[in-house]
């Protein structure tokens, strides 16, 4: 299947359109809420919640006997919320630390969920096939109604976010201040956490329990590198999430035998990698370049200062000296000398250098004021 044909299919084929739309919306909403999770240092909460949702799915199936995804996701939501609040209880009431609490709830709930799933599988009359799609996600099973459901939840999320934007933002950056202003921080906290749980639960069908946490983190972590403003970060994270969803679906739809979840996660990870390396202000590449540039400037200044030290001892500051005496000085390279000539600080004649007036001026002010000729 070539690229153009795929694009055509996205618009004409019902299944492909549904899946693409579904994963895009999912990516957007998890990216949005994930920004809060990342900034609140609750990155791994998503991992714990998504695992903790599994027994809810199994119990909902055991009770109702249907495979209707809305019912199962309601079960997942309840058990995810129980997991979240239990984690909180462990952290606040005992001396166990947050990492232990997360790991505990994650593994214990998941193990219990697997117990129930295998128990269901052994039941003779259960139409159980398809429950394990919640492990790794099968976007192919998305129906139009599921997409509507996602869109509705995303809409509600968006409204709540806009309504309580100020409160969320303030709680995020200065919880104590928010409290002193008389806001009910506990309620705001519960509200945002519940929405994070909701977003995770929505993604279970598409991405699966195991990899859902990456959906939450990766777009947000990528977006964080490009901006320092919360609004822009949330917006960017939503875009990154949606793009990961669309590309991930495209790749997994054109290959046999690939679950959507892992592919979307890989694509999202690529976004993160690119952002880590190429972001202009925080990225590793530009950081390295800045580092090297600073070191060069420093060396240049060192050479200039050294020359100044020599020139100072002569009456005529432009008295020529041989290049050789610079050699035992660390900051000196041919490059820096050329640069100094280029800046008109130094003139070169054969093997001799001499400081110009301008160079002398600059060197004497080297430690007095900032160089603003850059």
């Amino acid at each position: 299947m070539d690229f153009l044909e795929y694009i055509r299919l996205v618009f004409t084929d019902y299944t492909l359109r549904t899946i693409t739309l579904g994963t895009a919306i999912l990516g957007a909403v998890t990216g949005m809420l994930g920004s809060f999770a990342v900034l609140r240092k609750q990155s791994l909460l998503g991992d714990a919640i998504s695992h903790a949702a599994l027994p809810g799915i199994a119990i909902a199936f055991l009770i109702t006997g249907t495979k209707d995804s809305n019912v199962l996701l309601l079960g997942a939501l309840i058990s995810g919320l129980i997991g979240t609040f239990w984690i909180r209880g462990i952290i606040t009431k005992t001396h166990l630390k947050s990492d232990t609490a997360l790991g505990l709830i994650l593994s214990l709930f998941f193990g219990f969920g697997m117990l129930l799933l295998t128990f269901i599988q052994k039941q003779p009359n259960a139409n159980q096939a398809g429950l394990d799609k919640y492990l790794f996600g099968q976007a192919a099973t998305l129906l139009e109604s599921d997409v509507w459901m996602m869109a509705t939840v995303t809409g509600i999320c968006l409204i709540i976010l806009l309504l309580f934007w100020k409160e969320f933002k303030m709680l995020l950056f200065d919880a104590d201040f928010t409290k002193t202003l008389g806001f009910n921080t506990k309620a705001i906290d519960i509200l945002i956490t519940s929405f994070i749980v909701l977003a995770i639960v929505l993604g279970l069908q598409t991405v699966g329990v195991v990899l859902m946490s990456a959906m939450l983190l990766a777009p947000a972590a990528a977006a964080r590198q490009w901006t320092n403003s919360l609004g822009k970060m949330v917006f960017l994270a939503a875009i990154f999430g949606a793009l990961s969803g669309v590309f991930g679906t495209a790749v997994s739809a054109t290959q046999n035998n690939l679950s959507t979840g892992p592919v979307i996660v890989i694509i999202a990870s690529v976004f993160v990698l690119v952002s880590f390396v190429f972001s202009p202000s925080r990225g590793l590449l530009f950081k390295q370049i800045r580092f090297i540039k600073n070191r060069r400037d420093l060396k240049l200044n060192k050479t200039l200062a050294f020359m100044y030290g020599i020139a100072e001892t002569h009456e005529n500051i432009s008295h020529p000296h041989t290049v050789k005496i610079l050699n035992n000085f660390q900051g000196f390279t041919k490059g820096t000398l050329q640069k100094l000539v280029h800046k008109n600080y130094v003139t070169l004649e054969g093997n001799m250098w001499s400081l110009t007036k301008k160079g002398f001026q600059a060197a004497s002010n080297l430690y007095n004021q900032q160089n603003d000729d850059e």
């Binding site: 214990l108 979840g261 892992p262």
Partner: protein, 387 residues
Amino acid sequence: MMSSAQIEIQLIASLAAIACAIPGTFLVLRKMAMISDAISHSILPGIVIGFFITHDLNSPLLILLAAATGIITVILVEYIQKTGLVKEDTAIGLVFPALFSIGVILIAKNANDVHLDVDAVLLGELAFAPFDRFIISDIDLGPKSLWVIGSILIVTIGLLFAFFKELKVSTFDAGLAASLGFSPAIMHYGLMSIASVTTVGAFDAVGAILVVALMIAPAATAYLLTNNLKRMLLYAIGFGVFCAISGYWVAHWLDASIAGSITTMLGIIFLLVYLFAPNKGIIAVLYREKQQRTEVSLLTFLLHLKNHNEEEERHVNHLNEHINWQKVRSKTVLELALKNNMIVVDNNIVSLTEKGNDFTSQAIDYIITNEDAEIEHMKDDFFLFRG
């Protein structure tokens, strides 16, 4: 009667529980529990690649390869964290899903060559472990997994005894350990290597998630019961083995996943200890908080009495409305004060006794200086009501 396969399964599960509990205890104490979760997921590509090469899930080479992936995860997480671009927990959350996804995709793309089932990786196939025998020149030496997990356990125990002191110091006081000449980095990576190898060795039998549960849950449960490292290790091992065996029988009874039911047993034990542990359990904590509230109320009450010499300020009815407590609470506080001879009630007028007066001045001293030493000796002086 138990069949020999049943005994072997329980033996493998118990050995895995012990092998996990030992590094798990240190991970919990070092606040690195989530690293074990990350390792258990990210070893998947290592296992798949190892499987391409060896075609045997129990081969030592595969275990080493997979354990190396675990170490790579740790290094990667630390590298990302060091760049300062994201926080540590985000770094963990980014690295392991990516590696796990690569593993899943590798399996999916080579489904014909790899007889590896992702469900099996997550869950393990403990029930089938006894069928993969270790046979040398026609002599049956027992299940392979038993040998694998047994050797890992022996190495772990050997290292634990050899480096117990170093581990202990570096866990509780990394600075002291470094100044005594134990490199914290060696300790850290040593522990991570053991955790990786154990995870890989145990995953075949019990699955990736149960490994995490076996590492964290027994240690966390033990931590709620004791602060002594040696006891914590012993308790953790005890809980692990108990849950391994009881979990097996639950699975037998329900005809469900053994790994799942062992985890469920671990969960039940943790829940019980979480609720009922003396001192650190939820009920004990809530009770203590309630008691502390009463103590604070009593102090407030006594301070009020000390500040007011006027009789009308010290009338029972007035006190009731002035401090604005509910009836039950005021009554508790009043009785407590009476019982401790802090006050006398005469004609509905409450006044401080000499002892109460003394106590209150000391309490004010404590509040002003806020030194712990003062309140400790106060408790002795006045036979306060705690304990």
